[in-house]
Assembly symmetry: C2
């Protein structure tokens, strides 16, 4: 394909006219699509329906330690749930707490407790510092950034590549003792889709930090969410232990994109010492979480083979959707100098990086044509993408036919914005 950058001004003008005509045609169709959030499709929800009537008799509600799941008790989660989800995270049951319906809530809670009380080893609550800072690999997950912004934690963006964040930059930044932690989505990163390399994981676990209560917030949201390839990311807790920093990492996970978003179970993993410390804090805010839902999940999956079988089904639904987006991008935008993207191995997103200064324009064009995309800037702290370049594509929710149309519109808008930019 001939790159737009090699077009003459006349060619660009003619192209823009043609593109705008096509755009007008789409607009006239009054379409309404969303590729804004990483939401499972209704077909994916159906996989978990057998879970809903798996508990039948009163006896089914008794957990393996004899606790009636319908009553108070087992603050750390029922033993069989701690076992299953510790395996999910690749750690030990004693290192795992199974809690409520969403890992976002656990992450917020960990951060707010750190602010109010500090973490294990803190000299004082984080809110007692004049300023504390968190490292935020970008592009990243907007809800992580919102937590920091809400709590007044200064965010330091660091570039994320296909292989993890810029470790050289991070190793410099953590020499500042105000830097208390880093947000990581290590596997099928949100929204990049890449995976942290062994080197990145090892350097995060072993780097020398000025703050001795530094925490890696390891949001392993897509731990088993392969689409094309189940990539092996090193276990952060193992690496932290090996490096002599066993308490450095907090691991988060949930079944939101395994069973039901917001109605699954969420879990936390860390060193036993961290878990014991947290147990005392959790006992202030909770008597116990929803153990009935834990039982449903454990009885449904039985073991990690059950989870993996379910993830195969999800992959089978998501793969053709990702194929459809990636093939269209390849076919329509390859070699056009209109931006770049990376084929992810799993997760829920494709990141499209426009020519600098075009992301907002693409978003606006899409919107005016009935296609809702994630807000531009959402991938960056304070909604500030200095290059105005990152856009997140979420192919999971629309049906196949909706998605095909949506991606046509997206590509058209990318082309228009790019040509407009070159004509300026």
């Amino acid at each position: 394909m001939k790159a737009y950058t090699s077009y003459t001004k006349e060619e660009l003008t003619a192209e823009l006219t043609a593109l705008n005509n096509k755009y007008k045609e789409y607009q006239d169709q009054g379409l309404k699509f969303t590729m804004a959030r990483g939401i499972p499709n209704v077909d994916q929800l159906a996989f978990s329906m057998p879970m809903m009537d798996i508990l039948k008799e009163e006896d089914d509600y008794v957990s393996s330690d004899g606790v009636d799941a319908r009553n108070y008790g087992d603050l750390m989660g029922i033993p069989e749930a701690r076992k299953l989800f510790s395996e999910f995270l690749g750690i030990k049951p004693e290192e795992t707490i199974v809690m409520g319906n969403a890992s976002l809530n656990i992450m917020y809670d960990c951060m707010s407790r750190a602010m109010l009380k500090g973490v294990l080893g803190s000299e004082k609550p984080w809110c007692k510092y004049d300023k504390i800072k968190f490292i935020c690999p970008v592009p990243g997950y907007d809800r992580h950034f919102t937590i920091c912004e809400f709590l007044g934690i200064e965010m330091i963006p660091v570039k994320l590549t296909e292989w993890g964040p810029d470790m050289d930059a991070i190793e410099e930044i953590v020499k500042d003792e105000c830097v208390k932690g880093i947000w990581c989505v290590p596997k099928y990163t949100n929204p990049y889709g890449g995976c942290y390399s062994d080197e990145a994981v090892r350097r995060l676990a072993s780097m020398k930090t000025a703050a001795n209560d530094f925490r890696i917030f390891w949001d392993n949201a897509y731990a088993h969410h392969y689409i094309y390839k189940d990539v092996n990311v090193l276990n952060i807790l193992d690496e932290c232990k090996k490096a002599g920093n066993p308490n450095r990492c907090y691991i988060f996970g949930s079944t939101s994109k395994v069973t039901f978003p917001g109605a699954g179970v969420a879990f936390f993993g860390a060193s036993e010492e961290n878990v014991e410390f947290m147990k005392k804090q959790l006992s202030v805010q909770s008597i116990s979480w929803d153990k009935i839902n834990m039982l449903r999940h454990v009885r449904f999956f039985k073991d990690m083979d059950g989870v993996k079988a379910q993830m195969d089904k999800h992959a089978a639904i998501l793969r053709p959707k990702f194929d459809s987006v990636l093939n269209a991008l390849d076919k329509e935008l390859s070699g056009l100098d209109a931006g770049t993207w990376v084929k992810p191995d799993g997760g829920y997103f494709i990141t499209y990086q426009t020519v600098n200064g075009c992301a907002k324009r693409v978003y606006a064009l899409c919107k005016d044509c009935g296609l809702t995309m994630t807000d531009p800037g959402a991938t960056h702290p304070y909604h500030n993408d200095p290059d105005d370049s990152y856009l997140r594509i979420c192919p999971s929710y629309p049906s196949a036919s909706e998605l095909a149309k949506a991606i046509e519109i997206f590509i058209l808008c990318v082309k228009i914005a790019t040509v407009e930019k070159l004509l300026k």
Copy 2:
């Protein structure tokens, strides 16, 4: 009955010998009971079992606003749940947020957010004050006090009577602008069992507070949990509105003792302005709560008549248990000058007030005889009951026969401790 206080020393000594012999007999039986926590009995849990398979087809999972309860969405709760539980609290749906599995968690969250960010109308976050204080009517609920202690909020105890807290004292205390709020269990108070009088509610709603961001934490845990009499407690939100302080109260409730403790739904009520303010904060920590469980609850109860029918069943189970405790206390301790108690109209507790200086001894005697009671001091901030007098009796969990035996032991221990005291 002849009061112990009128016994001669010889009579007391003889009585103590007789009591100790009886105690030894119980001890030899190797009994093991608990009256430590307000936990529904297994028979009560059975009432809600039909709820567990009430959602059958995929269509059953769609809420009234068309949102699939199995997916993300509806941060404030599904409309039908907001409607039902607003009626539960006696307020409007727009004044109600339906959330997770436990109101304790909501209360903790409200307090921790107030510390980190302040409430609507705060000049600054509460943690930025050198000191803030909360009023704690005593006897009260230990978990309320633990939240304050954890967050470093100084607690000011105020005496609770059968008709509510000492309002004269409270109206003085709130002249201090460091006093930011009060914990209240207005109906069938934990553990007193009394109800706030109309006067108490009106004075709380209308009193002049130095802090203009004063909050009443109104834990309406037993809103419909009558045993003998459904008492009408004035609606705090109505009274706050009438008094021109619409944003003063936060109301909390849950179905923990309606359906399943820890696996029910919990809800928050406040002025629309408070609710809007809170919505923004909640969006930082959550995408949505477990809407499937909300749907189960709404479909099961249908309306407040359904809730009330269920509460009648609970009362029918609890009444003979409370009868058994109260009759035994009346029969064995009336006129003995060995302490006092009040017959509650509802709730989960009976407060036994020993002769000063005897509560810890009674607890220890019970424990050594296999009967676990709530820790003495749990009814007071910092576990400090200056009179060493308050004990909480929780009759709900044991079976009828266990309970009969447990209360025999309790009464015996009260007698021993009282006589010992008089002999000192």
